[in-house]
Symmetry: C2
Subunit: 190 residues, 2 copies
């Protein structure tokens, strides 16, 4: 993608997030977003099908990176360790776009319909992850359990990373939650 | 509740499940259900607000039993073991109503809107379970992780129990999945 195209997409994204934050997702229109970015509506629609897509288009890149990490993990790696590697593979994207990711999350969290869509996307990611494990020879029940447990860990680690602001990295937060999972599952008494 | 009332509710439930199975959830009306049960629509509405509630009303009893089990578990029990006890507490209800539970599940599974509602109910159960753990002094992140992981185990165990028909008990299926979870989380190499 030529540099100016990438820049146009980023300008539209930044304008949309700023408006969603200021006015709420419902109140901001595509016309408002294009105007704020100093671009036309026509240009907006060359990059996104609607204003909701501004919030969810980036997930395809995350998904692709996650699934690539599953195939790249050495043979013999246990299923949950593969899932952890897949989730850690998203670190560069999250770290490079911390502000955008945080702003996006606040917008999604504030709107019931967007939260539903986010949950649905997470469920789909878990399914894709489980399928990728099965392709590597992991039995289906183990694969589903590892993928869904991993997504629960991811969701909590991601939330904590958002909440702690700049003090923790995404990777640290994820590793800490995986350690908590091990404690929770192996605890034999208090 | 006097015996005949309980019986009326069960007749309506059985008639509804039979019709949902034969015609699909959308096509069966409250009038059809009442007629099949040999009762009036007015009687139907004394027990259920709509036909969807026939499928979901029973979940309140399950929820109450689960949360009661959390409070009854001895002090010092580790969080995930509390969750396992809570999920095992539903065994008598499931075992006594195996056919009804199976038929209900097939109806829910066949309809996208009902599946969504079921997912939503499961998410709410996980939240209630986590809150009950926090009330017992479990730290919030550990509580959420234990509750959500437990609900994932429950969902898979329940599906497997449904799939295996009469050959496995719900409790056996649940225990087997908790054992798989321990294997998945503690595996250090294949």
């Amino acid at each position: 993608m030529p540099r100016w195209e990438s820049n146009t997409r980023e300008r539209l994204e930044a304008a949309a997030l700023a408006l969603f934050t200021e006015r709420g997702f419902e109140a901001a229109t595509v016309a408002d977003i294009a105007e704020r970015a100093g671009l036309t509506e026509r240009t907006f629609f060359r990059y996104f099908t609607d204003k909701r897509e501004v919030l969810f288009a980036g997930q395809e890149a995350l998904r692709d990176r996650m699934l690539a990490a599953v195939t790249e993990t050495p043979a013999g790696t246990p299923p949950l360790a593969i899932v952890e590697q897949a989730l850690l593979a998203m670190t560069p994207i999250f770290d490079a776009r911390r502000e955008v990711v945080h702003a996006r999350q606040r917008v999604v969290h504030a709107n019931a319909e967007l939260r539903e869509r986010e949950l649905h996307k997470m469920a789909m990611l878990a399914t894709l992850l489980a399928e990728a494990l099965v392709t590597r020879g992991v039995p289906p029940t183990t694969a589903t359990l590892a993928a869904e447990t991993g997504m629960t860990v991811f969701r909590l680690a991601f939330m904590r990373w958002i909440e702690t602001g700049a003090t923790t990295s995404y990777a640290e937060s994820l590793r800490a939650l995986f350690a908590t999972l091990t404690d929770v599952v192996t605890a034999t008494g208090a």
